[in-house]
């Protein structure tokens, strides 16, 4: 067995936005106001070929709403037949039983549905779409019925941080095996609505302490967090593959035109996968290099947690200050 973790030969995951089009206008959405030309399916398949050649094992379709794109099934089938592990995140509006069966048939390994509140009215208001809660839950049931693994994604914000246990119960009741309690990002509409939605640093700390306590007492459901700032808590015991943000180290994001950004929440293009050599982008991009070697600045300087959290979420620091190296504004230290 080996112990050391160094630079990876390629990302483990590509988060892939095939389209920014969406049938919802959620209050926190990072991409609702984005516009970008979409690739034809032949070019999309060329990208799949590049990812296979680079031995990227996982792709996750996000958006925009992936099911808006009619050729999603053909794209996913091509990718899964070429050996990629395919998943996606959807709002569930278009996910009836027939669609769930098709997703399973074309090789999806799992499908995540976003649900922000166990109260239908609150979820619908946040998503600005009456009936969206009912359809999201119907989507979970459809996935369960056809035997396709489902996950539930909930972006933690002011509307739900006190009621996350109800979200876990909702997941339990609909055959979900894993719940992602995502950290709130300050990008796109999330930045515009930050005052209304984001928690204060001490509220984040209290939330994570409580959620970690629940996680440690929970055996029937996998509870996952993706917030690097949580690593500064002694109560957080998980061994992560890399320290700090995973974007640029384990994962990258593809925009609908093939442009690569470190993650969906950092609108800095580091290259185009169809126009440039991928390995040159991955190994030599100055932006990616800077994200992998963050420097402690401000209150991170001299902080004992920096080795573990690496300054927290790089996207959030960049969105609020324009500098990757600034401390995560969620940090309570």
């Amino acid at each position: 067995m080996a112990e050391t973790t160094q630079m990876f030969s390629a990302p483990l995951t590509f988060n892939w936005t095939l389209s920014y089009r969406c049938n919802f206008t959620c209050d926190h959405c990072y991409s609702r106001d984005e516009q970008c030309p979409e690739l034809a399916i032949d070019d999309v398949k060329r990208i799949v070929d590049i990812l296979v050649e680079q031995q990227v094992p996982f792709i996750n379709f996000g958006g925009g709403e992936p099911l808006i794109r009619k050729d999603l099934f053909e794209i996913a089938e091509y990718a899964s037949k070429r050996g990629l592990n395919v998943s996606m995140n959807t709002n569930g509006w278009l996910l009836d039983e027939a669609a769930a069966q098709r997703l399973k048939d074309v090789g999806f390994k799992s499908v995540g549905i976003s649900i922000d509140s166990a109260e239908a009215a609150l979820h619908d208001a946040f998503r600005n779409m009456p009936g969206s809660y009912e359809k999201a839950v119907r989507g979970l049931d459809a996935l369960h019925k056809v035997g396709l693994k489902s996950t539930m994604s909930s972006v933690i914000s002011r509307i739900n941080y006190r009621a996350f246990r109800e979200l876990l119960d909702l997941a339990r009741g609909h055959g979900v095996g894993q719940v992602y309690l995502h950290n709130f990002k300050c990008s796109g509409r999330g930045f515009k609505n930050r005052e209304d939605l984001d928690l204060a640093p001490d509220e984040w700390q209290a939330f994570y302490l409580e959620a970690l306590s629940v996680k440690h007492q929970t055996n029937d459901l996998k509870i996952s967090f993706d917030d690097p700032v949580i690593a500064s808590l002694p109560e957080y015991q998980e061994k992560t593959i890399v320290k700090g943000s995973s974007c640029g180290k384990l994962s990258l994001h593809l925009r609908p035109n093939g442009d690569i950004t470190p993650c969906g929440f950092i609108p800095v293009v580091v290259g185009n996968i169809l126009k440039e050599d991928f390995e040159t982008i991955w190994f030599d991009s100055p932006v990616l290099k800077a994200m992998r070697a963050k420097e402690a600045t401000g209150k991170c300087s001299g902080c004992g947690a920096f080795d573990d959290c690496q300054g927290g979420c790089t996207a959030r620091a960049f969105a609020t200050t324009g500098d990757f190296n600034q401390p995560d504004p969620h940090c309570w230290k």
């Binding site: 067995m1 080996a2 050391t4 030969s9 031995q55 094992p57 996982f58 592990n85 593959i241």
Partner: protein
């Protein structure tokens, strides 16, 4: 376990660039035991195998016996097969106990 097979639930890949660096370091006489060249991903966790472990792992296709694998390894490192047989058996047993290898 005579013909070990990689658990199909595990996603894995050879870290090509890192493997090349490790081979170079080995040629230069450096200790590379702790340097991962193959990564295994299971349920959100990553594990790494070093050069020797990675080579054994790649041979575990359910077709080759422990003796076959030891033979390949001996050829790769220019040593007698008998010198590596016990190590191969021990490594395979360890991975089988973790559920990473199954009977082929």
């Amino acid at each position: 376990m005579n013909k070990p097979l990689r658990n199909p639930e595990i996603v894995w890949r050879v870290e090509k660039r890192r493997q090349a660096e490790v081979l170079k370091a080995l040629e230069e006489g450096n200790d590379v035991d702790d340097s991962g060249t193959v990564i295994l991903l299971q349920s959100g966790m990553m594990h790494q195998l070093n050069l020797v472990g990675g080579l054994i792992w790649q041979q575990c296709d359910g077709q080759q016996s422990l003796a076959d694998i030891a033979g390949e390894l001996a050829k790769e490192f220019s040593v007698e097969q008998a010198e590596v047989e016990a190590d191969v058996a021990e490594f395979v047993a360890d991975l089988a106990e973790r559920g990473w290898l199954i009977n082929g």
